[in-house]
Subunit: 245 residues, 6 copies
Amino acid sequence: MTDIQPIARPSGRAADQVREVRLETHVSKYAEGSCLAKFGDTHVLCTASVEDRVPGWMKGGGRGWVTAEYGMLPRATDQRTDREAARGKQTGRTQEIQRLIGRALRAVTDMATLGELQIRIDCDVLQADGGTRTAAITGGYVALALAIRHLREIGALKADPLKEPVAAISCGLWRGLPVLDLDYAEDSSAQADANFVLTASGGIVEVQGTAEQDPFSQVQFLDLLALAHKGTQELVAAQRAALAG
Amino acid sequence: MTDIQPIARPSGRAADQVREVRLETHVSKYAEGSCLAKFGDTHVLCTASVEDRVPGWMKGGGRGWVTAEYGMLPRATDQRTDREAARGKQTGRTQEIQRLIGRALRAVTDMATLGELQIRIDCDVLQADGGTRTAAITGGYVALALAIRHLREIGALKADPLKEPVAAISCGLWRGLPVLDLDYAEDSSAQADANFVLTASGGIVEVQGTAEQDPFSQVQFLDLLALAHKGTQELVAAQRAALAG
Amino acid sequence: MTDIQPIARPSGRAADQVREVRLETHVSKYAEGSCLAKFGDTHVLCTASVEDRVPGWMKGGGRGWVTAEYGMLPRATDQRTDREAARGKQTGRTQEIQRLIGRALRAVTDMATLGELQIRIDCDVLQADGGTRTAAITGGYVALALAIRHLREIGALKADPLKEPVAAISCGLWRGLPVLDLDYAEDSSAQADANFVLTASGGIVEVQGTAEQDPFSQVQFLDLLALAHKGTQELVAAQRAALAG
Amino acid sequence: MTDIQPIARPSGRAADQVREVRLETHVSKYAEGSCLAKFGDTHVLCTASVEDRVPGWMKGGGRGWVTAEYGMLPRATDQRTDREAARGKQTGRTQEIQRLIGRALRAVTDMATLGELQIRIDCDVLQADGGTRTAAITGGYVALALAIRHLREIGALKADPLKEPVAAISCGLWRGLPVLDLDYAEDSSAQADANFVLTASGGIVEVQGTAEQDPFSQVQFLDLLALAHKGTQELVAAQRAALAG
Amino acid sequence: MTDIQPIARPSGRAADQVREVRLETHVSKYAEGSCLAKFGDTHVLCTASVEDRVPGWMKGGGRGWVTAEYGMLPRATDQRTDREAARGKQTGRTQEIQRLIGRALRAVTDMATLGELQIRIDCDVLQADGGTRTAAITGGYVALALAIRHLREIGALKADPLKEPVAAISCGLWRGLPVLDLDYAEDSSAQADANFVLTASGGIVEVQGTAEQDPFSQVQFLDLLALAHKGTQELVAAQRAALAG
Amino acid sequence: MTDIQPIARPSGRAADQVREVRLETHVSKYAEGSCLAKFGDTHVLCTASVEDRVPGWMKGGGRGWVTAEYGMLPRATDQRTDREAARGKQTGRTQEIQRLIGRALRAVTDMATLGELQIRIDCDVLQADGGTRTAAITGGYVALALAIRHLREIGALKADPLKEPVAAISCGLWRGLPVLDLDYAEDSSAQADANFVLTASGGIVEVQGTAEQDPFSQVQFLDLLALAHKGTQELVAAQRAALAG
């Protein structure tokens, strides 16, 4: 990795410093698993709902499914956005994010062990200050793990279908330097922005990098990946603490 | 009012006892006013967003507008419900409730004093255990009052357009006896269900009563109204405390 | 009740005077029951359609269902309104009204006696001069009763599932005084507006009262309720005459 | 024309006999022009609404526009059909018919004489027994003519933009023989079905012929056209009587 | 037929001259039948997709179904039009055309011989210079015939359900004279426009004629029909050549 | 990069071999720029439409905009998919892809040089055999460049807003080995799948990598990136040849 300068990011954090992360569990009276994921001022409520039927195209195959939906409260942001239910359709951004969350969680779930159950993860952004999709994946994993623990406790699952924790973090190039976990102000002025979904053992589940201004280089990309490894290790530690608590 | 027996309601509360009410203010980093209204296990996040333009049909009239939107997170309830944004339309129930909230708040707002501003109240149910619309109105008033205080502090409003507090509570007939502030279990088994929107001075802003089973009598209706007066007085006290805090 | 002054309402009617009501039956060649309900210049065509299957969630329970849909022709009103089918969705107002009609008619129907049949009441406003929802409920009951009579005549029903007639009327405060059965001009300038759904025996099925300007008092509300009792008695008499005719 | 046999049509009418036609005018309290067109048991309520603005693409061109919308009440038919407003979209059939009505009426309107006004014709089928589109055009012309008469009476139009009456009728091949003005039973069993929109002077405005079973010949088509000429002459006479009445 | 003058049409073609027609087959790697129909600069890609289930209302009847869908690429035209998928609904014009294509192809298909199969014809306009619906029908027939040949080759069909070829062409009155196969420039300035769907043996399947300006006469209409017979004979020859090739 | 074995890919191509690529230009009579991009059996028709107005939020800023829409014909694929226009909404996949295409093309366009023009790229998949989004970006660039050349030729643009060519290619891990430009069969059985959008000078514009089965490593990711560099160099050469042709 190239040398990280102690530059003055808008947030005042060190270049490789994640925001204060809190993963509050059991925040829903009803959901089989739940986690309120806070990455600084980004707050995402994640619930896991267990259903005993899988989508039609999977019936009878003995395998389960994990899927996700994403939403944002209208005034989660500085400027109020229209309510998607009132507009009558979800934006492309919403659909892109919820597809990403679903893929990330499925990547660490053994569907044969899960059996013909569907677990639906709802990620609703109560407050948004950048990085909502990464908070949703990180908190969504905790909600999923709690729902699976519940299924094991009531005897509905014999074995644990989760292979290992998965977490996500954003990185970006800000005035040419790689920084970790961008908040909204940083994200708006970054030259490049990448989201990484990594497993506890360091495997890459998903990479999405976009040059907002000039294209970036392979070296820069590897710097971002190194930051992401550091960040997700910290997030996995927080997930483990939350699940142990 | 007929004599209220200390019957054993499912909730164990006295017939005229409101659930524990908490009105937490300043819960949103961005909204001009916000309140998380908790009526027992019913939690509604209310935000007030100020816009400097009114709907098209009001332009140039010098008067303001207050409107509301209502939503419920998919797993706010015991059984997950479909996300309205995914289904592509709001249910009739949602539309009915958000129209009610808007009317209730407009009833205590002097639109000429507000001037050509629109305040949009978003009421999002994070957890639902009955009475979400009454919690939304009660918390929505607090969010509205905070937004107006903010407008006065920044000099955008000379006078206070709010005439008096407004609050709402549900009442019902449970095994023939009038009870106050029904939770979900009580509501599901009630014979009749009524929602009252009352002002601090006891004026009736809105009444909605429905016989779920047999029709009810005028005497029974007056019992419910008396309970509602008691309940909304307590809610108004909580609103004042929250706004003073 | 407070003393009703012989004030000059816009309509010129006495304060407690209902518009001329005509309930014309058998107006549809096809529907199992039909009624064209005319409250003055408000004309609502009500048809009852019998279906031998209930909604999915009721199947196999041995109970029936009554539901309603409401619509208004684009030029039923003074100013043409957009066609809901062309706009691609029903307004909140439409949904609110059709839910109300359905609840009102279900309140007087014994669903076990009806058995696994669904009766769908379509209420289409051909001309609107205020009070369309109350005309729809009053005429919808007649259409429903005719459809049930037809089912009994063809032997599909052994017993009568209708418990008693139900009718609806609006009342309001106009310049401070309670008046019965508001037409559009009166409704537009009323301080308060309430719709009452009452049974022949005087039971309250539904109450919806809204303060359009200042909140109203319990005494005023009781005045409106007394007017509603008088008005619905007259409507029930008209229903009985129509069904006897 | 080939020789018309006195065959026994399902309706019992002579092959060249139109159903009883009634064109009732001034049936709407509000519309600038209105006509309830009855072709036997087919009843279509036609209203004409004048708007003082034309569609955006026509603004400033000094020319007017006539357009039409079509709808059918859910229980206008023997089997109830879903309400288009509830389904959230108009069927292809509805759109096809309303486009046809609009073209037919525009064909006899001089848009320069009309000036920058739009007249919107709403055709709502209260009861359907075949031939709803032809009744809609025939009645829609009367509503349009009444609206134009109203505009002339109030001085909003100096000259008459209507060039001549237009009417429409269906014809078909039933068991190989040409018949005029099919009702629903006849239409369902016809081999071919054609709708003709003709002017008072016999000009062809629109022809739509469809072979439901085997293709038909030019000779057969000319037989249908001859019947249509006879039928529309009778309809034009009825229009003139209605407008004179 | 009246005498056809060698007038100078905008296209420079003789009055009874069809554009250069090319029917390219096997243009899709996947579809059971496919044809790229080119009428001059109008290019329509037609594919036939075989499904082994019929619509619900036909199940168990032993009969098949042929249906069509129509679409136009946004920049198929000189001015880009909005993408229907992005707008969220199909225009009335699209629905009208796809219903016409379906009727035309069903008219030459024996549904009992087809058996319980559905063949879906997709007609997508890659480039539009007038006459897209007639090119779609003409090319759609070729795609359908190829799909049926494929079904016979794999043994899924014992007999040929196609009764005879069907083709379509437009005609119009241009400065008072009948012309064949209008391109977009001619269509825009025509006084009348008619589409004819005729079988190889000259039977009329569908006729749609519209007076764009003044009504036209029976004699004019017969002139158009005569042109259509000439044109569709040429198209049928092209279809046969394409299917033989 | 790890050593690439000459494994037997399903397509029989070498691991680092791109499919036969053809970029056919000027395929649309109307569009300002057009390119039919063929990557083997994947055929995407790309058109560029110039509009002289930018989206509302950009007006008056002196900067231009490039956006993209994506669609797939129903029978572009082996199994027919529902038409998005008929279903009434675009899938999440469609929206994700069209957002990607737009970002990729904007990354190489200087919006200040473009000035207040919008160029809309429509990418319609005529036939799909994997890699449709990469073909769309690669062909979309050619259509965009041709539209800009046209604008320069007619004097609407003084300078060239395009900074350099951009192209896209997919890579994947197939049985553990990195392969370039996956077709549909390969994509369906790949362990990981990544799409790279790279500039002619090798800059990274967009990276999207997804583990379909097990997570992949940084080393594997770098292998894919190296393949992508090779592949996009070849695509850029094809773009330059097409534009020179």
